[in-house]
């Protein structure tokens, strides 16, 4: 097994610390955390990921591997999450994407950021609006297609009726944020566990 020197350089570690990984620190030292995350990443495909990251190798893990992680495998939006965070938009992730994803989804990340990414996740067709088709997809994923068509239509109408501030029949990011920051999970002092909030299980 490698140690710090062989996986990352010290500058890389520093950069990650200030960059965004400080969201996810539960353990006392950053080094352990990054190493753990790195091994989590590497364990998905030991044959693909090298143990030496000092020269920035170009490695991407396919979505099939990312989506099979225990943190994501039961999530109905796992494909969207992977797509949103991956650089190529198809769910294939580099180590940087991977770290990015976990830092945003960790409990320490600020809520505004979470709301922004939540919007992206629910915006299935990536047109920067949550329209009716997006809502239907979300609802069907949440309920595993157990609601009837009438019910789905009714719920979608209600959602748009409630949250659409400018009456254009779809939710923009502003509408979404306006709605989501008023959610009880956002207001209560307890940490929100329902808005893109994934703990990393080591």
């Amino acid at each position: 097994m490698g140690n710090k020197q062989t996986i990352f350089t010290a500058e890389q570690l520093d950069a990650y610390q200030v960059g965004s990984l400080c969201f996810v620190i539960n353990t006392s030292s950053l080094f352990i955390l990054i190493q753990k995350l790195f091994y989590r990443y590497r364990d998905l495909a030991p044959q693909l990921v090298p143990l030496d990251y000092t020269n920035h190798p170009d490695v991407k893990l396919p979505y099939e591997l990312i989506g099979s992680m225990p943190e994501l495998k039961d999530n109905p939006f796992r494909q969207r999450i992977a797509e949103v965070f991956s650089e190529d938009g198809e769910g294939n992730m580099t180590l940087d994407d991977f770290l990015d994803m976990f830092s945003v989804l960790s409990e320490m990340a600020p809520r505004d950021l979470k709301a922004y990414y939540a919007f992206k996740i629910y915006d299935f067709n990536s047109d920067d609006f949550i329209c009716k088709s997006d809502l239907e997809k979300t609802l069907n994923k949440l309920t595993r297609n157990e609601l009837t068509d009438d019910e789905v239509r009714m719920v979608c109408e209600k959602v748009i009726d409630e949250a659409d501030l400018d009456n254009d029949g779809r939710l923009s990011l502003e509408d979404f944020q306006h709605m989501i920051v008023r959610a009880p999970e956002f207001l209560s002092r307890r940490k929100p566990n329902n808005i893109t909030y994934i703990l990393i299980w080591f």
Partner: protein
């Protein structure tokens, strides 16, 4: 290999690689400068480095050509790796050198002298360096510079551009070149900077540095991909490191550097401290783990358990620190007086385990129980007022518990009061109902089911609010269910009453004359009721068709009412026993006085003889009902704990083991079929916890060891239950959010607290204490200790004032005043609530109005845009300008958006430099405008002005 893959390869590498693409001429020039510097600094390494550089320059030239023309990936990659290693080593050396220069001023002066020497030799190149240096800060700040030097350099650049123009990727080259020049110059600039910076430039520099710092701080909050964050972070950090030393000269510089270092360290410390604080919360990770697997309803039990542990910790500290330890350290030792000695009759069996386990023998005559304490007013060299302390701790325990429970309830109510807003019911259900912590397939399945049911319920409610014809049936069913439950409760209450009365009769007759069933009737009936009634309630509650959270609350309330019967029987039994003991005590007291009288009579006859000194163990003594009560409670707690643990082990663990291992050889599927694994019973566990706490509050006065025991129990059950839940329970069928139920637990706790303090206070106030045991022996009532202290320990005027204050003439008006105050506060709070509701309504109205307004505005904007489009279609050549306009609108809207959200817009300098570097990284993957996902269709213009794209800021 395709172009894409190659590009992605390039992007994934460090920005040092950028140098590879640079034309040979510049490369060599740069290296010559570098060589010079190295010659100055380290002469002995010169030859070796030269070789390196030559090889590198030639190979890099070849490399660049290859990349541009033949695109052979393999060889170039190898080369690049080689170079990367070489360069990193070189770079590190350089950095080390420059930093050492930074650190000491004297060193720098020497270096400056050296540069002056070399100036004569290599004047031309030096001049060029200086020019570049002049330019570099300005290019970073992007200010318009009009000096000659920069003009010249610009010309030079243009020249180069012309040379490069044959290449395909011209723009890319340019940006790289820019960057490279800048980087190169940044490094060399150190030495001459102090000479070439004017005060205004310093000011600008300072601003730029501050902006960069802000950027670094706000970097975390930005929704950029990690790579972009890293790139911009690296750039800003380099910038800050390079320039902040330049601000101020001499002493000021040193102080500045020191300040910077300290703030950095302080920030790091703060960050570490935050992390440290999260690890300090006890069992936080354990509870999180459970929450992730079982949902928040199960976790709410464990949070409640932790809260309870905290309270018990305080209670334990109070009793242990102010009662038990002082008595053990400073009170009279064991065996000195009768109440501290095991009586002669019990001495033989006092050390037996069975007796100790029952808290008899030595355990009974120790600090653990009330009877051990002496009524000496002050003990030890501290003159510790033991009886007073005992009484005050007893009162303080109850007072503190009341305070904490009520305060927590108020806080929870406040929290839930805010979230009462129901205006986004469906939206929240849609976007926030998925529990992202779930990582277990079963939990996920249940969550899917529960979300579906919650949606169905919400739909049902929505439909019912529109037309209410079905509501009567539900109402009828609910009333029916409540009626059934009431019947159940009344029946069980009567049964308990009946059984208790019968057992009292039996007890009067003498237990020996009756059968086993008749002797244990009460216990059996109680446990049977406790076992079957909850099931019955569960069945009945399916009639009501409530939301599971509401159903849980009803269930909790009903079982609570049932258990009150339990409590009632226990208290009745206890009071009976107290009365028996007091009768016994009266007899003993009478006997003792007659015996003493006769003894005194004999003594008085021959007064010369010394009074006979009895061994303390032989002295006759009363039954001490207080210790008996304490023992009773301790035994109850112990047996309750044991039952809990054993049912946990058998009901959960053994069942899970059997189901798991017998499943291979059984007729039907055990896991899916009948026994299955057990669920975590939230209501039962919560009620167990609450009633246990009630016992503690009731008994803590007579057995100071109770909080300690309870602490131990809670500690063990925390670990045991965490383990049991994780290893042998399955998640509940309907996982639901437990938001408000925590306050429901609190409410029940408050009721129990009230009910349990009532008998305790009753016994303290009305029953006189035993004559020969405990801290209050010899007094008429326990609270006389206060009176005594007031009289003897305080000055006369104080007791006088107190006696005046406590006369009914003053107390009654005071109580009246309090009642008035309570009434006033209550009515004001009611008014506030009404005002709140009104305001909410107003807000809603305003929202609707805003919606209408927005709609109008949107329509107008759309019409304007239509017109603009028409105009543009008429005049094709105007379109680029319009596009710009649209972009401007876009920007202004963004700014507006951010200022609205209270976030500062990103610093312009950092922004620009970012944009300058970002295209290099992203131009091939992200063809669309920033803010859109790469590889996806471009946005149409009509929409564009509405999208706040965060990536730009």
């Amino acid at each position: 290999m395709s172009q894409d893959s190659l590009d992605s390869l390039v992007t994934s590498e460090n920005d040092i690689d950028i140098r590879l693409d640079v034309d040979d001429e510049y490369e060599q020039e740069r290296q010559s400068g570098r060589r010079r510097k190295r010659r100055r600094r380290s002469g002995d390494k010169k030859e070796k480095k030269k070789k390196h550089q030559r090889r590198r320059s030639s190979s890099s030239a070849r490399d660049g050509r290859e990349e541009r023309q033949t695109k052979k990936r393999e060889s170039s990659k190898k080369q690049r790796e080689k170079h990367f290693k070489e360069r990193t080593t070189e770079r590190n050396e350089e950095e080390a050198q420059t930093s050492s220069v930074k650190a000491t001023k004297t060193n720098k002066n020497i270096n400056n002298e050296k540069t002056r020497k070399t100036k004569t030799a290599e004047r031309e190149t030096e001049k060029r360096n200086e020019k570049k240096m002049d330019k570099s800060p300005k290019t970073i700040e992007r200010k318009e510079s009009e000096g000659k030097n920069t003009d010249k350099s610009k010309e030079r650049k243009k020249h180069k551009k012309v040379q490069n123009s044959s290449d395909e990727e011209k723009t890319k080259e340019e940006s790289e070149e820019d960057k490279e020049e800048q980087e190169e110059l940044d490094k060399e600039q150190e030495e001459v900077r102090s000479e070439c910076l004017s005060p205004e430039e310093l000011e600008k520099l300072k601003e730029a540095v501050d902006e960069r710092k802000k950027l670094i701080q706000s970097l975390r909050v930005k929704p950029w991909p990690m790579k972009k964050k890293l790139v911009s972070l690296r750039e800003s950090q380099e910038f800050v490191e390079k320039y902040e030393g330049a601000l101020g000269k001499g002493k000021g510089r040193k102080i500045y550097a020191y300040k910077v270092i300290m703030t950095k360290k302080w920030m790091k410390f703060e960050r570490d401290f935050e992390n440290f604080k999260t690890t300090l919360i006890p069992w936080e990770m354990k509870i999180k783990e459970i929450e992730s697997h079982f949902g928040s309803s199960v976790a709410s039990y464990f949070i409640f358990l932790r809260w309870m542990y905290g309270i018990n910790m305080i209670l334990f500290c109070l009793t242990f620190g102010l009662v038990m330890v002082p008595e053990a350290l400073m009170g009279r030792p064991y065996g000195s007086i009768p109440r501290k000695t095991v009586p002669r009759a019990e001495e033989a069996s006092a050390m037996d385990f069975a007796v100790l386990w029952d808290f008899g023998g030595y355990a009974q005559y120790s600090v653990l129980f009330y009877g051990f304490y002496n009524n000496q007013r002050a003990i030890g060299w501290l003159k510790f007022r033991m009886p007073l302390s005992y009484f005050l701790v007893g009162v303080g325990t109850v007072a503190y518990s009341y305070m904490v429970v009520i305060r927590t309830m108020a806080r929870n109510a406040n929290e839930s009061g805010i979230g009462d807003d129901n205006s986004f019911n469906f939206s929240w259900k849609m976007f926030t109902s998925w529990d992202y912590l779930i990582g277990n397939t079963e939990t996920a399945d249940n969550k899917f089911a529960s979300i579906t049911t919650s949606f169905k319920e919400a739909i049902l409610e929505e439909q019912e609010s529109r037309k209410d014809d079905n509501i009567h049936l539900t109402r009828f069913l609910r009333v029916l269910a409540n009626f059934l439950v009431l019947c159940c409760l009344a029946g069980s209450g009567y049964l308990i009453y009946f059984v208790v009365r019968r057992s009292q009769k039996f007890a009067l007759d003498g237990l020996e004359n009756h059968t086993w069933w008749e002797r244990n009737e009460v216990n059996m009936v109680m446990s049977l009721l406790g076992m079957f009634c909850p099931m019955l309630f569960d069945v009945i509650s399916t009639l009501e068709n409530y939301h599971p959270r509401v159903a849980l609350q009803w269930q909790l309330g009903r079982i609570f009412a049932l258990f009150l019967g339990n409590l009632y029987t226990f208290i009745i039994a206890l009071m009976d026993e107290i009365n028996l003991k007091r009768k016994e005590e009266m007899i003993v007291k009478y006997n003792i006085t007659t015996w003493e009288n006769s003894f005194n009579g004999t003594v008085s006859e021959n007064s010369t003889a010394t009074p006979i000194s009895l061994h303390p163990a032989d002295v006759p003594r009363g039954p001490c009902w207080e210790t008996m009560v304490g023992q009773e409670f301790v035994r109850l707690i112990i047996s309750d704990t044991m039952t809990t643990y054993i049912t946990l082990l058998i009901g959960d663990f053994l069942r899970a083991v059997l189901v798991r291992f017998l499943n291979h050889c059984w007729c039907w599927d055990l896991e899916a079929g009948f026994p299955s694994y057990s669920e975590f019973d939230v209501s039962g566990n919560v009620l167990g916890l609450i009633f246990n706490q009630g016992m503690i509050w009731m008994g803590a006065f007579y057995a100071p060891c109770l909080p300690a025991l309870n602490l131990l129990r809670l500690h063990i059950s925390m670990y045991l239950q965490c383990w049991a839940v994780m290893c042998c329970n399955v998640p509940q069928e309907r996982v639901f959010k437990a938001s408000g139920s925590n306050n429901f637990y609190m409410a029940m706790l408050l009721v129990i607290l009230f009910l349990s303090t009532l008998p305790a206070i009753y016994t303290i106030v009305t029953i006189p204490p035993s004559f020969d045991c405990g801290p209050f022996s010899g007094k008429n009532r326990m609270f006389d200790v206060i009176h005594e202290t007031l009289e003897s320990d305080f000055p006369v005027w104080f007791s006088k004032v107190f006696s005046y204050a406590s006369n009914p003439g003053l107390v009654l008006p005071f109580i009246l005043l309090m009642v008035l105050a309570i009434y006033y506060l209550q009515s004001t709070s009611k008014n506030y609530k009404e005002a709140n509701v009104k305001l909410k309504k107003k807000l809603q109205m305003q929202n609707e109005e805003n919606k209408k307004k927005n709609k109008r505005a949107a329509l107008k904007a759309q019409m304007d845009l239509e017109e603009a489009r028409k105009a543009s279609s008429q005049q094709k050549h105007v379109s680029p300008r319009r596009h710009q306009d649209v972009n401007e609108i876009h920007c202004s809207r963004q700014r507006h958006y951010y200022s609205k959200n209270g976030r500062n817009p990103a610093p312009p300098v950092g922004d620009r430099s970012l944009r300058r570097s970002a295209p290099r990284t992203y131009q091939h993957v992200n063809p669309g405008p920033p803010g859109y996902l790469p590889g996806l269709p471009r946005q149409s213009e009509t929409r564009m002005h509405r999208v706040p794209s965060l990536q730009r800021h």
